[in-house]
């Protein structure tokens, strides 16, 4: 136990003294926050128009009804009335994104509405440019207002008029969004943290020849394996936690709505932590074993890549099925079980048996992995292969 602690302390000291490793530890989280926030801002700016924006364009046969509705909705416009014969020449301005819209009402549109039963169907034409946010936004506004005008005249029945009929509360909505995205994201973030650390700690030591220096001390191979696994798992957890904070801070910006993480209590966070620890231990052990076969960090990263693809595929399961699996045997499948269990926790649908099976299975895989790693540390062909 004492030697395990010595190795853990040394691994921590080594990582915190190496700037490259510090970057590998914290950069993903910071990058996630910056990139997601930036993406969110860009997406938002692409799909929203500023409140005080003045839409510009042309109108043929102005409808006072339409104009007054726009005013009521406080939508600012600067439309020039033109003759029908000039439409074609002004279409170029819409194409060139100089103006937002051309609306062509039939002659005497407002008056005709009063006698609509006696007339054939009228056509209002709205020319717009879908590549310009302001133009396509006004097109939607125009459609909405014209639909309102039309339904006022021919209204037979309404659907869900007046109040909010969606009975899902904010908590359910947040849980639904989080449970669909976060299990997969968290798995990927933790695995990214692991892949940045495990090859360096095992294959890196082999490559630099420093592991041999440890192997000629009275340190038992088992102690070395456990010390390595515990320390690099802790570091991967820190990396995962930083990334998780980055995701939670930038997530609302990315999806352009408020996500309330406080809907989860101590119980949920504790269970998430438990599952994540079991995942990290298992992933690190697997990567450490794979890294042991490599002669260099680069080679180890190459060896781990196919496993990463498999792990990511397994972590996508709830995004595909949209529900947690019921068959308890499925919770013996590594990585898949973490994704399913996290989904059930995030969606407040925890199945205790499945959760216990997940954690125990992952811990058992870790113990088996440590046993294997111990054997590998004692295998000269693996440790000193050239």
């Amino acid at each position: 136990m004492r030697n395990i602690w010595i190795i853990i302390k040394k691994e921590f000291a080594r990582f915190f003294k190496d700037r490259r490793m510090l970057v590998a530890l914290f950069l993903p989280g910071i990058l996630i926050y910056v990139v997601y926030s930036f993406m969110g801002d860009i997406i938002n700016s692409m799909v929203t128009v500023e409140n005080n924006y003045v839409y510009t364009g042309y109108v043929v046969n102005q409808s006072n009804l339409f104009k007054s509705t726009l005013e009521l909705e406080k939508i600012k416009i600067n439309f020039e009335e033109i003759d029908e014969s000039h439409i074609e020449e002004h279409k170029e301005e819409i194409k060139n994104r100089e103006k937002d819209i051309i609306i062509v009402f039939p002659k005497q549109f407002d008056e005709s509405l009063k006698y609509q039963n006696n007339q054939s169907v009228m056509n209002v034409e709205i020319f717009y440019n879908s590549t310009k946010t302001e133009s396509s936004t006004f097109y939607q506004i125009g459609l909405e207002i014209l639909n309102k005008i039309e339904s006022k005249i021919t209204n037979i029945f309404d659907i869900n008029a007046g109040q909010n009929y969606d009975l899902a509360d904010e908590k359910d909505l947040s849980a639904s969004i989080i449970s669909n995205l976060l299990p997969m994201l968290m798995l990927m973030l933790i695995l990214s943290g692991c892949i940045g650390i495990a090859p360096e700690s095992i294959a890196g030591e082999k490559e630099r020849g420093t592991i041999a220096t440890l192997l000629v001390t009275p340190l038992k191979r088992r102690e070395l394996a456990i010390g390595k696994i515990v320390s690099i798992s802790s570091l991967a957890l820190i990396s995962g936690l930083v990334s998780f904070i980055g995701v939670m801070l930038s997530f609302p910006k990315l999806i352009a709505r408020n996500i309330d993480a406080s809907i989860y209590g101590f119980k949920e966070y504790f269970l998430i932590f438990l599952v994540i620890i079991s995942l990290t231990l298992m992933a690190i052990t697997l990567m450490a074993i794979v890294s042991s076969f490599a002669k260099s960090v680069k080679e180890a990263t190459n060896y781990i890549s196919p496993f990463m693809i498999l792990m990511v595929l397994l972590s996508l399961s709830t995004m595909i099925t949209q529900s947690a699996a019921n068959n308890v045997v499925l919770y013996l499948i590594p990585f898949f079980n973490v994704n399913q269990t996290l989904y059930s926790i995030f969606s407040f649908d925890i199945n205790v048996t499945n959760l216990i099976v997940t954690v125990i299975a992952n811990v058992v895989y870790t113990i088996l992995g440590i046993f294997m790693l111990t054997k590998m540390f004692g295998n000269e062909k693996i440790m000193f292969s050239r």
Binding site: R2, N3, I6, K10, A13, R14, K17, D18, R208, G209, T210, A212, T213, L214, L215, V216, T217, P218, L219, K220, E380, K381, F384, R386
Partner: protein, 257 residues
């Protein structure tokens, strides 16, 4: 004299990869590194393993230091069976070879403390030992400099000191002066003699005749994985100098010079 190490009929083979077969220019899939190696060393002497490159010197030392295992044979160090109780053997020996490297990110100070801890050396004793060894090798002046920023000679001195943190009874050095400048090499050879005089047993591998003649008490000549001669230096060099003795033996064994 008290026998402290006994090697009996040790055999060691390595599987050669295709790449290694190309490098060694052979079709053989197996390389015999040690072929029935036997020798003994006694307490308080410096034993020199002499042999050409590829003779099996380094393999023999790696087996003695428990880094790798022998395929056959028996080795006892201070009465402990190396294959049965390698951890206990590691407490008794200090091993230094160019393949054992120190972490670039740590300082000599940190590394000494770390390895003292692993060897379970009490804090006070470790500190006193560190002070003495750092002074001896002039490590004091760079004890807080990261290994990455040290010269080859400095690193070698630190490695040497690290291998002695637990004050081992048997010290095994593979090519102890390899890559060192003349000044550092002298410090190292003087220190090895000092250790011998304090009752430690030292086993070195080298192909430098003058080094063996200067410091060794007993010499073993390895050729093609076999110990051809293992004798006291003064008996071996009664009639001829060591270099001539070696080449006579080599000629007889290999049939060329």
């Amino acid at each position: 004299m008290e026998k402290i190490l006994e090697v009996q009929n040790v055999k060691k083979t390595f599987k050669l990869s295709r790449k290694q077969q190309k490098i060694e220019k052979t079709n053989q899939k197996i390389k015999v590194a040690l072929n029935g190696l036997s020798f003994a060393t006694y307490k308080g002497e410096i034993y020199g393993l002499l042999g050409p490159n590829g003779a099996g010197k380094t393999t023999a030392l790696r087996i003695l230091s428990t880094l790798i295992k022998a395929d056959e044979g028996h080795i006892e160090i201070d009465g402990i069976d190396v294959s049965k109780n390698p951890e206990e053997v590691r407490r008794k020996i200090g091993f230094l070879t160019s393949e054992l490297k120190l972490e670039d990110f740590f300082t000599p100070n940190y590394l000494f403390d770390f390895f003292s801890n692993l060897h379970d050396v009490p804090f006070d004793i470790a500190n006193e030992r560190k002070k003495r060894l750092f002074e001896k090798f002039g490590i004091d002046s760079f004890c807080e400099v990261k290994v990455a920023n040290l010269s080859t000679g400095m690193k070698q001195k630190v490695s040497l000191v690290i291998s002695l943190v637990h004050d081992p009874d048997i010290i095994i050095f593979d090519e102890p002066t390899n890559g060192l400048d003349v000044l550092t090499a002298k410090v190292v050879t003087d220190f090895l003699q000092e250790l011998r005089n304090s009752g430690k047993t030292i086993i070195i591998s080298t192909h430098i005749f003058s080094l063996v003649e200067k410091i060794c008490d007993r010499v073993g000549i390895i050729i093609n994985g076999r110990m051809i001669v293992s004798e006291k230096l003064n008996e071996l060099t009664k009639e001829k100098n060591l270099e001539d003795v070696f080449f006579d033996i080599y000629k007889k064994e290999v049939g060329e010079e």
